[in-house]
């Protein structure tokens, strides 16, 4: 009798399991949704590259059986931009945490969105620097407890969908790790859409964030996501900011079209040089 295998296993390095992620952590769910999205799309392993940064989510690069790069802290987006520019034929996906992408790498995020760099960013938001032990990060909700905010965080957190929307992303969605089908669909949509796509995934951190804030375990997080989430597709991203333990607006907020970085470059230079210019976007380094 042959051993039963999970259909997502072909996208994972099973020899590296079990993962380092804690019981109840949401990152595994995100990886699972990603693998299912790839499966549904029928994407070949060779058409993809995954880039991640530092932190718990950053470890994804080591667990997917896909060409991947684990960059230094904050740098996955510019690395991914470089990869995409050199290999326009690849789908380039950044999977990293909010502590990586929005704080130390925040400048890269807003400029990649502004330029419409053709990379897909899946940002796992667990509201804390979990791997270093739970300091207050850029999305730490007001009044949430962190090691660097023992009586509550007092600075204003980023509203990530609003940030991505206002800086120019062409696709912006937010789901929680409870919304596995919607998240999977969103990932597939983003991977099929040219331009800078940003998906925020609200994800529990039972060991660090939830425990310190007395929010229960992984299952409690699922209950909270189930009961407090409201799907509002097309919501005004200005209105989707989060509070500690408050309602969570989820959905696909933005889906619009504008030229990608390389398309804009080809269009602008092509309009000036005419036939002398060989368009880059369609040919890449294989010219």
């Amino acid at each position: 009798m042959s051993k039963a295998t999970n259909p997502v296993e072909s996208y994972l390095r099973m020899d590296r399991m079990p993962s380092i992620w804690c019981p109840g952590c949401g990152i595994g769910i995100v990886v699972n949704c990603f693998a299912r999205a790839l499966q549904q799309m029928g994407v070949d392993h060779d058409e993809l590259a995954v880039v991640s940064g530092i932190g718990c989510t950053g470890r994804i690069a080591g667990y997917v059986d896909i060409d991947s790069f684990h960059t230094t802290h904050g740098r996955p987006i510019p690395f991914a931009t470089g990869l995409k520019v050199a290999r326009p034929d690849l789908k380039v996906i950044v999977m990293s945490g909010e502590g990586d992408l929005v704080s130390i790498g925040g400048n890269h995020l807003i400029h990649a969105a502004r330029r419409n760099s053709d990379v897909k960013v899946i940002c796992v938001n667990n509201f804390t620097y979990a791997m270093t032990g739970g300091q207050a990060g850029p999305t730490a909700p007001r009044h949430s407890i962190a090691t660097t905010a023992p009586y509550g965080s007092f600075d204003k957190p980023f509203n990530l969908p609003f940030l991505a929307d206002s800086t120019g992303a062409v696709y912006v969605a937010r789901w929680t790790t409870y919304h596995v089908r919607q998240l999977t669909r969103s990932m597939a949509e983003a991977m099929s859409k040219p331009g800078f796509c940003f998906i925020e995934v609200i994800s529990p951190c039972p060991t660090i964030f939830s425990r310190r804030n007395r929010l229960g375990d992984g299952l409690d997080a699922m209950r909270y996501y189930k009961n407090s989430s409201k799907v509002v597709n097309g919501a005004n991203t200005r209105m989707v900011g989060l509070d500690l333990n408050g309602p969570i607006i989820v959905g696909k907020f933005i889906d619009r079209d504008r030229p990608t970085l390389l398309e804009a470059m080809d269009e602008e230079i092509g309009s000036k040089l005419g036939k002398r210019y060989v368009p880059y976007a369609t040919t890449g380094v294989q010219r």
Binding site: S103, I104, G106, T132, G133, T148, P150, Y151
Partner: protein
């Protein structure tokens, strides 16, 4: 009254930053430094330390904040490690060139790649030329003592330079050791109020950090070189003052069993303690082995090193970082120290403990055997990586 307590080295350092009444702490989380600033943020939140804790978005910002706060005359502390120190790189030169006396704890950790959170000295060795006073601690007591001393030296107007206190990540930062914790009164007596050499002051406006055109850049660099070199005098003086106040004497270069030694091994940082145990064991067997413990890394204490080595004919140098394509950093400085000397030892280069690789007593035995073989007339071996899996 000084109290003897068990404390993690990171917590001990944070506590004395509190005793020194730092005005501002700005930092970004990075392993294995994090406990220091976490504890400081708690002290600030609990009202034990009247200071601003600024949790920024990267180390580049942390050091930039420090630049601003010291320029305004605030006593400022930060801590980092590894990639964090590397990310501060460009600001580190500016802090020292502008004579801004920040004190920073560096919990030494290796640099990527591959990604490694473990201990060695590759982070600090990559920052050799930043123009800071750079000193190494061997244990928790030294880490906290040198932090107190660091503020005194940094803010000494003859110096007015930033000070980096290096102590080994995990091996020290995460280890609980018995320490003598000074009381607030004696720290305050040792450390006068911060009177900056220069500060941004609306009543007497100055510009810090403007362009240095070719007409003055060279002179600015010479001035920086001079002040760091000449900080040696105040360094020794303030270490002596520290000894008078707290009873613990530190020197730029220290030795162990060196008086009658036939061979010497030079160490930096926490491995010096293991090395002393290793020397004790070999001394019992009659091997005349001694240690040179290099404490001050910048300004480099050339004369102290020459005196410490004396007429000993063989000197092993342990480096905890590599310089691909060139000699390892500490060995390079040591060789430069002796090149023009009539009396100079044969230098044997060892690289040890990279990226958290353990250096057990048996490794020291191997190094000692090599040094003794050279002493007996054997050839000087090529630079060797100790504990390498092959």
């Amino acid at each position: 009254m000084e109290k003897r307590i068990g404390l993690e080295a990171s917590i001990a350092v944070a506590e004395v930053v509190g005793l020194c009444d730092a005005d501002v702490i700005s930092a970004y989380p990075i392993t294995p430094q994090t406990h220091i600033v976490e504890h400081l943020s708690e002290m600030v939140a609990d009202g034990e330390l009247q200071a601003a804790f600024v949790p920024v978005e990267s180390e580049h910002s942390a050091m930039s904040v420090c630049c601003g706060t010291v320029a305004a005359g605030a006593r400022t502390f930060t801590a980092t490690s590894s990639q964090g120190l590397a990310l501060m790189h460009e600001i580190l030169f500016i802090v020292s060139a502008l004579r801004l006396p920040v004190v920073m704890a560096v919990a030494n950790r290796s640099l990527s790649g591959p990604i490694s959170i473990w201990n060695d000295h590759s982070d600090v060795m990559a920052e050799r030329d930043i123009g800071w006073v750079q000193i190494f601690a061997e244990n928790a007591q030294e880490a906290l003592d040198l932090t107190i001393w660091g503020f005194r030296l940094a803010e000494d107007q003859r110096v007015s330079l930033p000070v980096a206190v290096n102590f080994d990540g995990f091996i020290l930062t995460h280890t609980i050791e018995p320490v003598l914790m000074p009381d607030r009164e004696s720290v305050q007596a040792f450390l006068p109020a911060f009177e900056p050499l220069m500060r941004l002051d609306v009543d007497q406006p100055i510009t810090m950090g403007p362009v240095g055109i070719p007409d003055i850049y060279t002179e600015a660099k010479k001035a920086h070189q001079e002040v760091l070199t000449q900080s040696y005098g105040p360094i020794v003086e303030t270490l002596d003052a520290f000894a008078k106040s707290f009873g613990r004497q530190y020197l730029p270069v220290e030795t162990y069993c060196a008086d009658d030694a036939e061979v010497l091994l030079l160490t930096m940082g926490a491995l010096g303690e293991t090395a002393m145990t290793a020397v004790d064991q070999r001394r019992e067997k009659g091997d005349k082995i001694g240690l040179v413990r290099l404490r001050l890394w910048r300004p480099f204490p050339f004369d102290d090193l020459i005196r410490a080595v004396g007429k000993v004919p063989v000197l092993g140098v342990m480096d905890r970082a590599i310089s691909p394509g060139g000699p390892s950093p500490v060995a390079s400085e040591v060789k430069a120290t002796f090149y023009q000397q009539e009396q100079r030892p044969k230098v044997v280069e060892f690289t040890v403990g990279l990226g958290g690789r353990d250096t057990p007593l048996s490794d020291f035995d191997g190094m000692f055997d090599t040094l003794l073989a050279v002493h007996r007339g054997g050839e000087i071996p090529k630079p060797t990586i100790i504990g390498l899996r092959e």
